[in-house]
């Protein structure tokens, strides 16, 4: 190093300059955004028109602080990974976080999100539906504010099926009858190895009056109801009315297959309604919805709920502002706007009664009724592991052997709850 030829030194100086530029540029970028006082950073998944809701709340702040929307990856796993990595490192740049309903327990138990207390808590609890509110709680404390919910319905064609079935068995026998008559008869469901399959399974378990985990989420129960649910999944998967690509279908594949007109039923989220009106206006006239069919006759419409909750990062340096922003992003006006413009079902009951909702959301009464007896997916900090294991063990659904699969679920889920499990 001591032998400093001029040429070498010149090159080194260039290298140093380049290195310095590389190190400095992200810093410059970071400084630029909060030069004008407090900025509340909202991290949220891609949702159509959500930027307008954020802009509205930015305006509502009246210049006391700015609200900035930061996009998260489209895939749920990507969203969670980015937030988890940054929170585990104590990142102070994240203020308001958009969490899938199944992540709240995990983030709360890890100490990454702040508890809602006092006036803020009361405001969130006031008028919010019980099911979605349940997903925002962990150990009897409130850790998030439900922004939107979601629930799967049974979608069918009333030219084929005049009266929607109430039970799983009825649905299959109706489809089989249609098939023998040579009419479109396929039953479409999200059966790929991913969260969509877990949702279907959890819904079926709830509809059979069963349980996957114990109430305090420390034990894997997988009771008789769960065994019945496994049987129901297998019945569909091995039936001639199942689609050939069942073990591969995600919600969009299901939607597209139904839009093509070959199916009689689909079990899917409400986004399919608006999509159908756009893609196939003719079929849309015959496109009807009903509560999710259950295994036990009395439980029709018991379905697990999805959706997003807003939480405030424990590492946020502007917590009071962050709580305010979170409240604004999910208040009745914002929820109505999102429901009408982005198609996401509200969590505040009164929004459903709004006259503007009727046109865009004709299935709102069914959704609301179903939300009132909604089941919640297992609430546990280890949900990611629980979900990964369930979708792995249930795939492909045609290979399910109810008692044996239930035993395997029980053993592997228990290990996951004890942090002893290995993720596949």
């Amino acid at each position: 190093m001591r032998s400093g030829h001029h040429r070498v030194r010149g090159r080194r100086r260039l290298g140093v300059a380049l290195g310095a530029a590389l190190i400095a540029s992200p810093l410059l970028g970071a400084c630029g955004s909060d030069s004008g006082g407090v900025t509340v950073n909202v991290y949220y998944a891609a949702e159509e028109n959500f930027d307008k809701v954020v802009a509205q709340c930015d305006k509502a702040a009246g210049g006391r602080y700015r609200v900035m929307l930061n996009g998260l990856p489209r895939e749920a796993d990507g969203q969670r990974e980015q937030m988890v990595r940054r929170l585990a490192a104590g990142d102070t740049d994240m203020d308001v976080l958009g969490l899938d309903v199944t992540w709240v327990a995990e983030f709360a138990e890890a100490g990454w999100i702040a508890e809602w207390t006092g006036q803020d808590k009361a405001e969130v609890e006031n008028g919010t539906l019980a099911g979605p509110l349940e997903t925002a709680r962990w150990k009897d404390k409130l850790y998030a504010a439900p922004k939107n919910t979601n629930v799967q319905l049974l979608w069918y064609r009333d030219d084929l099926v005049p009266e929607p079935p109430e039970t799983w068995g009825e649905m299959l026998s109706t489809a089989e009858r249609l098939r023998s008559e040579g009419k479109p008869s396929t039953v479409l469901m999200t059966g790929a190895q991913y969260e969509g399959l877990v949702v279907q399974f959890a819904t079926l378990v709830a509809g059979a009056g069963g349980k996957i985990l114990s109430a305090d989420s420390t034990r894997a129960v997988v009771d008789d109801g769960a065994v019945k649910a496994l049987g129901a999944l297998k019945d569909l998967a091995t039936s001639p009315v199942a689609s050939a690509s069942l073990s591969n279908a995600k919600e969009d594949d299901v939607r597209l297959a139904f839009e093509s007109g070959s199916a009689a039923f689909q079990l899917n989220w409400p986004f399919v309604y608006a999509a159908m009106r756009k893609a196939n206006p003719e079929l849309a006239k015959r496109f009807k919805w009903a509560p999710y069919p259950s295994i036990e006759p009395g439980n029709t419409g018991t379905a697990t709920i999805g959706g997003y909750n807003l939480a405030v990062s424990e590492y946020s340096t502007h917590k009071p502002e962050a709580f305010e922003v979170a409240k604004c992003l999910r208040d009745a006006a914002s929820q109505k706007y999102s429901a009408i413009n982005s198609g996401v079902p509200p969590t505040i009951e009164s929004v459903y009664d709004d006259p503007e909702m009727a046109e865009r959301y004709p299935m709102r009464d069914t959704i609301l009724a179903q939300l009132k007896k909604a089941a919640v997916r297992p609430i546990t900090p280890a949900y990611q592991n629980v979900s990964t294991l369930i979708s792995t063990i249930l795939s492909p659904p045609s290979a399910i052997d109810p008692p044996a699969t239930a035993a395997r679920l029980r053993a592997e889920l228990q290990d996951a709850l004890d942090s002893k499990g290995v993720l596949p």
Partner: protein, 312 residues
């Protein structure tokens, strides 16, 4: 790793000499001083993480249950080594490693011979052959994924219009191997070409004078002379292939039991936030890689490039 093992060798003859002159001593001291910064940096960036992950692997340490962190000895190793998912991934990784390295060796040798023997446009031929190796793996993997996607991919339409190949286990593994092979054959060829350059032309001429056919010249002359280069190429590629991650991550994301041990480690660490189990897995991968390197060096007698084992 092989570097460090080998580079100590040339120093040995010096040690044997009793009387070391003053000049030699000073030179050696200067040498040590010059190496010290690099050695310290290496220790800081590799030694610390290795020791830390071993320490993590001995604990129950799940970021989601921060209160339950405790030292549990080798429990994590028992958990992982008795788990069927781990062994499935281990089997898949071994399978991908063996098959892809074997194919790469054959194709790489062919490509090396072509590049070595080319008379016209040698530079162009060699550059073109290296393009796959120059493309970022993730980018290449994405183009493979789109090519094999049902309905839209050109390869899928050409070979299997009815099937979703990436969602079936055996075809998906075959596609992963294909992507790996396509990507690293040029690297293999490059290493082998260096070995080909070592084969003296005179030796080949003498062999053909003695009536050896082209095949005999290849198997009896070229391969024995090239053996050290072949072993080095195999060692590098085996170590690389065993840690395969990016191709699988993009192509199947480990679905249908196509995940490698590195994928599984990532899933447990980053998705599962289980630092204990995840670190255990990375230590196990480290050990597996160490065993592979040890086998190559001690059993097959591979020597690192540059350190000819003092045979000169």
């Amino acid at each position: 790793m092989s570097h460090t093992v080998q580079q100590t060798r040339p120093a040995r003859p010096d040690k044997g000499k009793r009387a070391v002159s003053e000049g030699k001593k000073a030179e050696r001291k200067l040498g040590l001083l010059l190496c010290a910064p690099a050695a310290l940096v290496m220790l800081a960036v590799t030694g610390y993480p290795i020791v830390y992950s071993i320490w993590l692997s001995l604990q129950r340490y799940d970021l989601r249950f921060p209160d339950q962190q405790k030292f549990i000895g080798i429990d994590n190793y028992v958990t992982v080594l008795t788990n069927s998912y781990w062994w499935t991934a281990f089997g898949v990784t071994t399978l991908i490693t063996v098959i892809s390295v074997a194919i790469e060796l054959v194709l790489g040798m062919g490509l090396a011979l072509v590049m070595h023997r080319t008379l016209v446009m040698r530079g162009l031929v060699r550059t073109v052959a290296l393009i796959p190796y120059g493309i970022v793996t993730v980018v290449a993997a994405f183009s493979w994924r789109y090519a094999w996607t049902q309905d839209t991919g050109y390869l899928a339409r050409l070979f299997a219009p009815e099937a979703a190949l990436l969602t079936e286990r055996v075809p998906a593994l075959a596609i992963i191997v294909l992507a790996e092979v396509w990507k690293t054959v040029p690297f293999m060829a490059l290493l082998l070409m260096a070995g080909l350059a070592l084969v003296p032309d005179d030796l080949l001429k003498a062999a053909s004078m003695d009536g050896a056919s082209a095949w005999q010249r290849f198997t009896k002359v070229i391969i024995p002379v090239m053996k050290p280069a072949i072993l080095v190429a195999l060692l590098f590629r085996t170590l690389d292939a065993f840690r395969v991650f990016d191709n699988i991550f993009v192509l199947t994301n480990g679905a249908q039991q196509t995940g490698s041990v590195s994928m599984q480690t990532y899933n447990n660490l980053i998705k599962g936030l289980n630092l204990g189990i995840g670190s255990t897995m990375s230590v196990l991968i480290f050990l597996a890689v160490a065993v592979i390197a040890f086998l190559f060096i001690k059993v097959f007698g591979t020597s690192a490039p540059g350190g000819d084992g003092g045979k000169r």
